[in-house]
């Protein structure tokens, strides 16, 4: 990676889904937690609080890729280990940290004050441990979805020591109510105020695993992740969230993307027939969807017939979403996608540039590093 100006052409990379995985008992988290809550947790415990998640053990303890175990014996605890494994290896411009450790332990299944203190401790730990470790790490302000006082946490983080490096708010894709409901509007107002996108990432913290009840297997739970946008998108559009907050941007991370054109058609077809119920909308639903939603690449599409792959991208692009798909690695999980394996030279160069770096650069306002990233023509180099 030492070939710089004059070297082979490169595609700059931003990873929008990179998970630090601190736990509440780690010293770098616990130090931010008031003693009374450390005592409380020591005495009364802190389960994950979700029967569905607890009842379907994943395939590995940390749902990790095997080589991601760092010096702690866990994964994504040590920022320098992760930096070498991902940031350096792929010469990335940035990684947007998506630490979901507060979901669901800080949810409504806690004393509210504990939930808030612990949620704040996780965000501070991400700042102190990760954002300090490398300037290419950017943070998300994680907020437990139905915890009272979420807005205060956004403000606290934005106006704290790492304020400039927190580039979005992160929330679970499922909670007590659909995301468009008024209970979440003060959060959207804070996002609009600070110019932050709001991102959704599992684990879900709703009342059920699926609309038809809990799933039985981890595999099944994982398959149903792709269903969350089906509630998020219509709810936010039909509730008029984007007329109220016209600058609000929503990133759906690890929730799929290829479904977007079909969902847009369904939104419009339903709206066309039920306009009587939705007189408050100023535009067709698909227009709101195209303007306000971003998507993450991982897990990347694998059509049954490989010759259909280009068409999947083309339909997405032709439907107006070309600048809405962003590369995500999902490090350190088992289904990690490497940038060069996702965006191979099979794809046209402009598509690779958009997805690997440009789209995220625009959304998060992070300037791409010139002459960095993965090789644009790896075969040409290999042939030399």
């Amino acid at each position: 990676m030492n070939m710089r100006p004059g070297g082979p052409e490169r595609i700059p990379v931003i990873d929008v889904d990179f998970h630090p995985m601190p736990r509440h008992f780690d010293a770098n988290v616990a130090k931010f937690l008031p003693q009374k809550w450390r005592d409380y947790i020591a005495r009364y415990g802190l389960g994950l609080g979700s029967a569905t998640l607890m009842g379907t053990p994943p395939q590995r303890e940390h749902t990790h890729r095997l080589d991601a175990i760092d010096g702690s014996g866990r994964v994504a605890v040590e920022p320098l280990f992760a930096k070498a494994q991902v940031l350096d290896r792929y010469d990335m411009t940035a990684a947007i940290l998506t630490c979901v450790s507060p979901f669901p332990p800080c949810g409504p299944n806690r004393p509210t004050e504990l939930g808030r203190a612990l949620n704040a401790a996780f965000n501070d730990a991400v700042g102190e441990t990760w954002l300090e470790a490398d300037p290419r790490y950017y943070g998300s302000i994680a907020v437990a979805r139905d915890l009272h006082g979420m807005v205060d946490e956004v403000r606290r983080c934005k106006e704290g020591a790492w304020g400039d490096r927190f580039v979005q708010v992160l929330i679970s894709p499922a909670g007590q109510e659909p995301l468009g409901k008024p209970r979440y509007w003060d959060l959207f107002e804070a996002c609009a105020h600070y110019g932050l996108p709001i991102a959704c990432h599992v684990p879900p913290t709703g009342l059920k695993g699926t609309a038809g009840g809990a799933t039985t297997y981890y595999c099944e739970l994982h398959m149903n992740l792709a269903a969350f946008p089906m509630t998020i998108i219509p709810s936010m559009i039909f509730e008029g969230v984007f007329d109220r907050f016209p600058t609000l941007k929503v990133a759906l991370v690890e929730l799929g993307w290829s479904f977007a054109p079909m969902l847009a058609w369904r939104l419009d077809a339903t709206y066309d027939r039920l306009r009587g119920e939705l007189p408050h909308l100023k535009r067709r639903p698909s227009e709101y969807m195209r303007d306000h939603f971003w998507f993450a690449s991982q897990p990347i599409e694998e059509p049954e017939r490989p010759e259909h792959l280009d068409g999947v991208y083309r339909m997405f692009e032709e439907s107006g979403f070309a600048d809405k798909l962003m590369y995500a690695s999902d490090y350190p999980h088992w289904d990690f996608d490497a940038p060069g394996e996702v965006m191979t030279p099979y794809h046209p160069l402009d598509r690779r540039r958009r997805i690997l770096g440009e789209n995220a650069s625009k959304l998060y306002g992070i300037k791409l590093k010139p002459d960095s990233g993965i090789l644009a023509h790896p075969q040409a180099l290999a042939a030399e």
Binding site: P178, Y217, Y218, S235, M262, R273, G311, E318
Partner: protein, 361 residues
């Protein structure tokens, strides 16, 4: 509403071959209409409590634009309660060879298990007397008390003797996903009688019909309902329902199909990564779907023609879709526009062939 979003009355102009309509509806006009088919105990129960019957409006609000096309609304009362109107609106003008009648009376909206079972029996007997025995072009679905699988199996056994029943109607919203073992008595009965398991819009789950609380708008519920069809399909595959019941045929009705290809790819991909947890699933999920599940064409949720053509290609089969009018509901469906994107063999399958084979007509 623009003309383009309206189905042309009179069916497909571009198709002159045989037509099978896999989803038309009959509404029970009132609870009293079922009294002749109930034991005096349940009639008395009903009268004592002043109960008016299940709240049908939860699934289809009576005045919503989608509940009935204006042309198909009677002067008074509920649509789809009169066999003469069904003949006049669908069977005759569309030259329908066979239509599969789904009476969704929301039986599972009633908690009392014995009462719900009695109500299901009454609906089925009412369907036999008022529809099946009066119209040879009709076949029908057995309504079951879906909350109580052993009772549902008994009702299937009771009704299956009538040759007019070709399907068991399973409301898509449930408390538990259908692949789970608690539901297997239902599928055992369905396969024992060679019937189709028809998953249809409607039903009553505990709490909100979503993983994240109640939708505000009916339109929002409709858009989002794809998720529960997808969850049921996924459950049936993951739990090994098709290995347990290798002859099982499922029809997904009124759930759309444009979501299917990318969902199926996702299933294939997750299966490749995680199948050690579910070793009984010994084939790719997309293959199991093609072998065991069919989809009605409603609602079509049409995108631009070139993109719809891609969706049809991605199905990787010309034998997955079955034409449905979904009488008396209003969809933005244009069957001619969909047929225009298909090769001839697929058109014949969609309009009749697939349903003929699936329902053994």
């Amino acid at each position: 509403m623009s003309a383009a979003t309206q189905t042309r009355i009179g069916g497909a102009r571009s198709w002159t071959g045989p037509v099978i309509d896999c989803d038309v509806h009959a509404n029970v006009p009132s609870l009293e209409a079922l009294f002749p088919h109930m034991s005096p105990l349940w009639v008395e129960f009903t009268r004592e409590r002043g109960w008016k019957g299940p709240v049908v409006g939860v699934t289809y609000p009576p005045e919503a634009e989608t509940t009935a096309r204006p042309e198909w609304k009677p002067a008074k009362g509920l649509p789809a309660t009169d066999i003469a109107m069904l003949r006049q609106h669908i069977l005759d003008p569309w030259k329908v060879e066979t239509a599969v009648l789904n009476c969704y009376y929301y039986v599972d909206g009633l908690r009392h298990p014995d009462w719900a079972a009695a109500l299901a029996s009454a609906v089925n007997d009412w369907v036999i007397e008022n529809w099946l025995d009066k119209e040879p072009r009709l076949r029908a679905s057995i309504v079951i008390p879906a909350r109580d699988p052993p009772a549902a199996a008994r009702e299937i056994d009771r009704c299956a003797a009538h040759p007019g029943f070709v399907q068991v109607m399973l409301p898509v919203r449930t408390n538990g996903l259908y692949g789970q073992r608690a539901y297997w008595p239902i599928f055992e009965a369905i396969t024992r009688h060679g019937l189709v398991a028809g998953i249809h819009w409607g039903g009553q789950s505990e709490g909100a019909p979503s993983p994240t609380g109640y939708a505000s708008f009916y339109a929002e519920e409709m858009v989002a309902e794809t998720q529960v069809y997808a969850a049921q399909l996924t459950s049936m595959i993951i739990e090994g329902l098709f290995q347990k019941f290798p002859t099982l045929r499922v029809a997904m009705l009124e759930g759309g199909f444009t979501w299917l290809p990318t969902w199926a790819w996702n299933l294939n991909k997750k299966w490749k990564g995680l199948r050690r947890e579910i070793p009984w699933v010994n084939r790719l999920p997309a293959e199991l779907i093609r072998e065991h599940i069919r989809f009605s064409t409603t609602p079509m949720d049409m995108g631009p023609p070139a993109h719809m053509k891609q969706i049809l290609d991605w199905l990787n089969s010309d034998d997955l879709l079955m034409f449905a009018s979904d009488y008396p509901h209003l969809h933005a469906d244009d069957i001619d526009a969909l047929l225009a994107l298909m090769p001839e063999t697929m058109r014949a399958n969609v309009m009749a062939g697939t349903a003929r084979r699936w329902y053994r007509l």
